[in-house]
């Protein structure tokens, strides 16, 4: 096992700091030059009272007879695995 108990941890940490300072020197400038507000996502509270035009329908009512099956080809681009994950 490759542990490093005898190496001075402080030295390794100092090296990390030096490395990070060097890494961020160029990146910071790029971030500043870009006027950016981030992704604007739709809000979640609205005062509309129906967006779905299915008022009066029982679209959300539980009805076992019309149980929705998952589409068979859930996503053709997702392959392998089936039901057990690989560790």
């Amino acid at each position: 096992m490759k542990t490093v108990p005898n190496v001075h941890l402080g030295l390794l940490l100092a090296a990390a700091v030096t490395g990070a300072v060097a890494l961020t020197a160029s990146a910071a400038q790029a971030a500043d030059s870009e006027k950016c507000y981030g992704v604007a996502k739709a809000g979640k509270n609205d005062c509309k009272t129906d967006a779905h035009s299915c008022a009066g329908q029982t679209k959300t009512d539980k009805d076992p007879a019309s149980f929705v099956e998952l589409p068979a080809g859930l996503c053709e681009k997702l392959s392998g695995g089936s039901t057990t994950p690989k560790k």
Binding site: K2, T24, K44, G80, K86
Partner: protein, 259 residues
């Protein structure tokens, strides 16, 4: 109980699907030709869809993965079981990943709950308080011994997501309406992810077991020395210089507290 309150209790129960609209028909004026119960169903429908909508906004990848019809059914079941307790929907759906994990109809999509966990973490970071990240330069002031006992506090927007599935690739592939443009191998192995927002953009960073344990330990306010020990337990050849350097540059910390 007042008359108004009793009426509102009944309408609330009806809106959440716990009371048949027919039993409230006598509470409202029955204007034919549309019967009162039918009109009340509009409110029930609006309430439930009005709560499914925010879930669709928080979990857009889950929605894309299962399709609208299935999502509506699953989210509708969730809404009825876990209606929000408060009027802010920005954080609604905390129990949704767990609910998905237990949702029998979704067992054929075993990674769905973890994708939902990732989306919840992303949503949290998106709305979390803004905080200037720690500049690596601030650490140059510390002596070697001080660095060892330093407590580096992760950015307050940070959330951890660990999955046995390649959820980051699945998430990334669904960032456009068109769905994935390349194949994703579900056998590719799991992900350990740091989700945070140091500035404007919400970021997802994939890390190894060592770095994951390292940040978790720092999150629990451990010193760098203690976090290093945790990292080695997770990954025996954890390269603390390179890993910490990358994490600092990625602006994953907010504060450095000397012991």
């Amino acid at each position: 109980m007042s008359r108004l309150r009793e009426l509102q209790s009944r309408i609330a129960a009806m809106s959440l699907g716990r009371l048949d609209p027919e039993t409230l028909a006598g509470d409202v004026l029955d204007d034919r030709p549309i019967p009162a119960a039918q009109r009340l169903r509009i409110y029930r429908n609006n309430t439930q869809l009005g709560l499914v909508d925010p879930l669709a906004a928080t979990f857009p990848v889950v929605l894309q993965l299962v399709g609208e019809e299935f999502f509506l059914r699953m989210a509708g079941d969730f809404v009825r079981a876990h209606p929000p307790q408060r009027p802010e929907l920005l954080a609604y759906g905390q129990e949704f990943p767990g609910f998905i994990g237990d949702y029998e109809a979704a067992t054929s999509v075993p990674y769905l709950a973890d994708v939902a966990r990732l989306e919840l973490a992303w949503n949290f970071a998106y709305n979390a308080p803004d905080r200037e990240p720690l500049s690596p330069r601030a650490l140059t002031a510390f002596a070697l011994e001080e660095l060892e006992t330093l407590r580096l506090v992760p950015h307050p927007t940070l959330r951890f997501v660990a999955s046995n599935w390649p959820v980051m690739a699945i998430w990334q592939a669904h960032q456009s309406e068109d769905g994935p443009d390349q194949a994703i191998d579900l056998d590719a192995g799991g992900d350990m992810l740091l989700v945070y927002r140091p500035r404007q953009e919400t970021l997802i960073r994939k890390v190894g077991a060592g770095a994951f344990a390292f940040i978790m330990s720092l999150s629990a306010r451990q010193t760098l020395a203690a976090a290093f020990t945790s990292a080695l337990a997770g990954e025996s050849d954890f390269n603390v210089s390179a890993e910490l350097s990358a994490l600092l540059a990625a602006e994953i910390f907010a504060e450095a507290i000397p012991s």
